[in-house]
């Protein structure tokens, strides 16, 4: 616990996205995450760091995993947790996001974790609330806590990412994970490569300094890390996507394809997985994957983020 009671402060006051963050902030978050991860290994698993602090999880879009992970992190920090889900919300009755958020804030809360389908929705909270805001995903824009837990997982295995090639595979265009991952990995000096069908690669993304390839076999050969993005089954088949069968044949990760990879390649997946589509069973349960480590790191890093940002409660915007 000693190294958690640091006097170090993040430069950011809210976590809206990785874009614009500095490496020092990411390093401080990862260092703090490592300490919390140790606590999660102790029998008690709980600290009093956010005692008396109220956190609201506002989820305007389904996300069982991210919500569970945040809630777990908040409870491990002894925060008071309130959940607000869109299905039970008044938004459907025509109340605006701003009114809803102001109403909740009027009940004296300190931090808001929000998932929303519209890019930039968090900016509206920032402009209208005094609480600390944490983005749990805004459309296909940013999902910073996912990028941080991915980075933590990679960093544990590959402490110096400079010059290493990390490939994001699959549906880049609809992914809320991709953009945040690219920014975080680049801050750590990694070469980022994107691989998937051309119809799922968004326009002009090379301008971010990433490599783009449609050839998975090529990408498997030259990658140190592969992050396999989820194919959203309900979304795709149509003009940009022939079939899951074809997707699996050409961009699904199988052990056979992985036989050409570097020996120590790491396989990540943000979950939930579509086994047999973007990833095969034998890979999802195989030696290279760190998927359950990601889940544990998700809780540890969200604890770190909540804890570090709690320094801004009641204060500076």
């Amino acid at each position: 616990m000693d190294n958690i009671k640091t006097k170090d402060l993040l430069k950011i006051k809210h976590l809206l996205g990785i874009k614009g963050m500095c490496r020092e902030d990411l390093e401080l978050i990862l260092k703090t995450s490592a300490s919390f991860k140790q606590i999660l290994d102790t029998p008690n698993k709980k600290v009093a760091a956010l005692k008396g602090i109220t956190v609201v999880n506002m989820f305007f879009e389904n996300s069982t995993r991210t919500k569970l992970s945040f809630e777990m992190a908040e409870k491990r920090l002894s925060a008071d947790v309130v959940n607000f889900a869109a299905s039970s919300s008044s938004l459907k009755k025509g109340e605006t996001l701003i009114d809803t958020a102001r109403n909740i804030e009027a009940m004296k809360i300190d931090m808001v974790v929000m998932r929303h389908s519209t890019p930039g929705a968090h900016k509206m909270l920032l402009d209208n609330l005094d609480s600390v805001i944490i983005n749990a995903g805004d459309g296909a824009h940013e999902h910073p806590t996912q990028a941080i837990l991915d980075l933590m997982t990679i960093d544990e295995k590959i402490p110096d990412l400079r010059g290493k090639r990390v490939t994001l595979v699959g549906d880049i265009i609809h992914s809320r994970v991709a953009m945040s991952n690219i920014h975080a990995l680049q801050l750590y000096g990694a070469k980022v490569q994107l691989c998937g069908p051309a119809t799922l690669i968004p326009k002009g993304i090379e301008k971010l300094g990433v490599e783009v390839t449609y050839d998975l076999e090529e990408a498997i050969k030259n990658s140190d890390v592969m992050n396999i993005l989820r194919i959203q089954l309900e979304r795709h088949v149509g003009p940009s996507f022939p079939s899951l069968r074809e997707y699996h044949n050409f961009w699904g990760i199988t052990n056979e394809k992985l036989s050409k990879a570097k020996n120590d390649i790491l396989i990540l997946h943000p979950g939930p997985m579509n086994r047999g589509v973007e990833i095969d069973d034998d890979v999802a349960d195989g030696d290279h994957q760190v998927i359950l480590e990601q889940v544990l790191n998700g809780v540890a890093s969200r604890m770190a983020i909540l804890y570090l940002l709690s320094a801004n409660i009641g204060g500076i915007k």
Binding site: T96, H116, G204, L208
Partner: protein, 438 residues
């Protein structure tokens, strides 16, 4: 109407029986002349244009020293929201905004509720806009309900003064409907004003570009506009109709229209101030004031539009004035309606971004907001003559002003130039024996 009586008050006065504009510089885009002169107006009609007109005790004297006197501006692309969405704008608040922007003449788009797709709604709007300073030309829809299927009763509407037809707000998806519209309207020589957009692409909320990629927003690609322009150029050549392309926004559109004009086809086009002065980088603020359709594009598109304005590919600058209430705009970007205000900033944005940057001379600029829209709509465009109705706008090119959304006369606030300092300001507008003074 009980509500909004204050807001709906017209901001003009009756012009005195006799009035003299002294010491101004007349700028006449039709005759490409610029000269110091006084103008005498009796009963609303220009009675004398002379270097020094002596005034009597009963004359209203308007001092225009250091200012320009131009034919009244015309905006051929405006949404005044009446009937159906009067919370955002009415015919009266909209015409107040128009006067304040220097306009004496507007063409209104028909996407109201009910839609202007028959003689009865059309006549009702004509009746409601009698006796204003601003002449209002209601443009009827091309197709019934703007559904892109069957044509409205164009011949009857044309007989009753309709100058053109438009399904603006939506592109006409059916090629057969567009062919019919161009062919039928071609009989009486009026244009179809076309909002070009292929809706079979996925719905987007901003330009599809590197910026939409960075923001994770769904995009509207350039080809959603340009492919339809290409189609309609082909159709118009085939049936001998006249498409006027509204609010063009892409470099590809400019190039297609330039080629069509070179070939001698009867086509024309307009651009909005926001499409030549702003780019999609603005969306990074997430402000819904930058959400409009067509969306703000890239700098390369803006550059080609500026070339198109210079070489005459783009004939007209029109505002696409599209008021929305704060309640509708102050929501998440995905949920906000498309559209921005334009009437009160158009002239100054043009001065700031075209004239003062030497893209266009003042007289070339004025052509695009005075005589060109009138030519396209078959209206009189040789206005500064003795015997003509005085339809004049007096402006100061050197004064600058800061846009404050709360001070605009429009009923809505959704300008994308809030807090920006612009050059050039309208001082006085005269039309229909009425006068508006800032």
């Amino acid at each position: 109407m009980i509500n909004n009586i204050q807001l709906n008050k017209s901001n003009f006065d009756e012009l005195s029986k006799s009035c003299v504009i002294k010491n101004g510089t007349i700028i006449d885009p039709h005759n490409e002349k610029e000269y110091l002169s006084d103008i005498k107006i009796i009963n609303g009609i220009i009675s004398e244009i002379n270097e020094s007109i002596t005034t009597g005790p009963d004359d209203l004297i308007i001092d225009a020293k250091g200012k320009y006197i131009s034919p009244g501006f015309m905006d051929m692309h405006v949404h005044l929201r009446e009937p159906g969405y009067e919370q955002a704008e009415t015919l009266i608040t909209g015409s107040n905004a128009a006067m304040s922007g220097g306009f004496t003449r507007l063409a209104l788009m028909p996407n109201t509720t009910p839609c202007v797709d028959n003689i009865f709604v059309y006549n009702d709007i004509c009746r409601r806009t009698e006796n204003l300073l601003v002449n209002i030309h209601q443009i009827p829809a091309v197709t019934v309900g703007r559904e892109g299927k069957s044509l409205v009763e164009m011949a009857e509407l044309n007989d009753n003064g309709a100058l053109a037809f438009s399904d603006d707000g939506d592109g006409i998806q059916s090629s057969e409907a567009m062919k019919g519209a161009l062919q039928y309207s071609g009989m009486f020589n009026v244009p179809i004003l076309v909002h070009e957009e292929d809706k079979t692409f996925l719905d987007g909320v901003m330009n599809e570009s590197f910026v939409s990629t960075e923001l994770g927003m769904s995009g509207i690609p350039n080809i959603a506009e340009s492919s339809m322009i290409a189609r309609d150029i082909e159709i118009s050549r085939y049936v001998d109709g006249y498409p006027h392309f509204q609010h063009i926004s892409t470099q590809e559109s400019v190039k297609l229209i330039r080629e069509a004009k070179k070939e001698g086809l009867k086509v024309s086009s307009e651009v909005t101030p926001h499409h030549f002065s702003l780019t999609d980088e603005k969306v990074k603020t997430f402000s819904t004031d930058y959400k409009m359709n067509p969306p703000l594009r890239t700098q390369e598109d803006v550059d080609e539009i500026l070339k198109g304005l210079q070489d005459g590919t783009i004939d007209v600058i029109a505002s696409d004035h599209a008021p929305h209430t704060p309640e509708k705009k102050n929501v998440e970007f995905d949920y906000a309606p498309f559209g921005v205000l334009g009437l009160e900033t158009l002239f100054s944005v043009g001065v700031t971004y075209l004239v003062n940057t030497n893209v266009l001379s003042l007289v070339e600029y004025l052509k695009k907001i005075t005589i060109n829209p009138r030519k396209i709509l078959n209206l009189d465009y040789d206005l500064i003559n003795v015997g003509k109705m005085a339809e004049l706008t007096i402006f100061d090119i050197s004064s600058e002003w800061k846009v404050d959304r709360r001070k605009l006369l429009s009923k809505s606030l959704n300008t994308c130039y809030h807090d920006e300092t612009l050059d050039g300001q309208v001082q006085v507008v005269i039309n229909n024996s009425k006068i508006y003074k800032r």
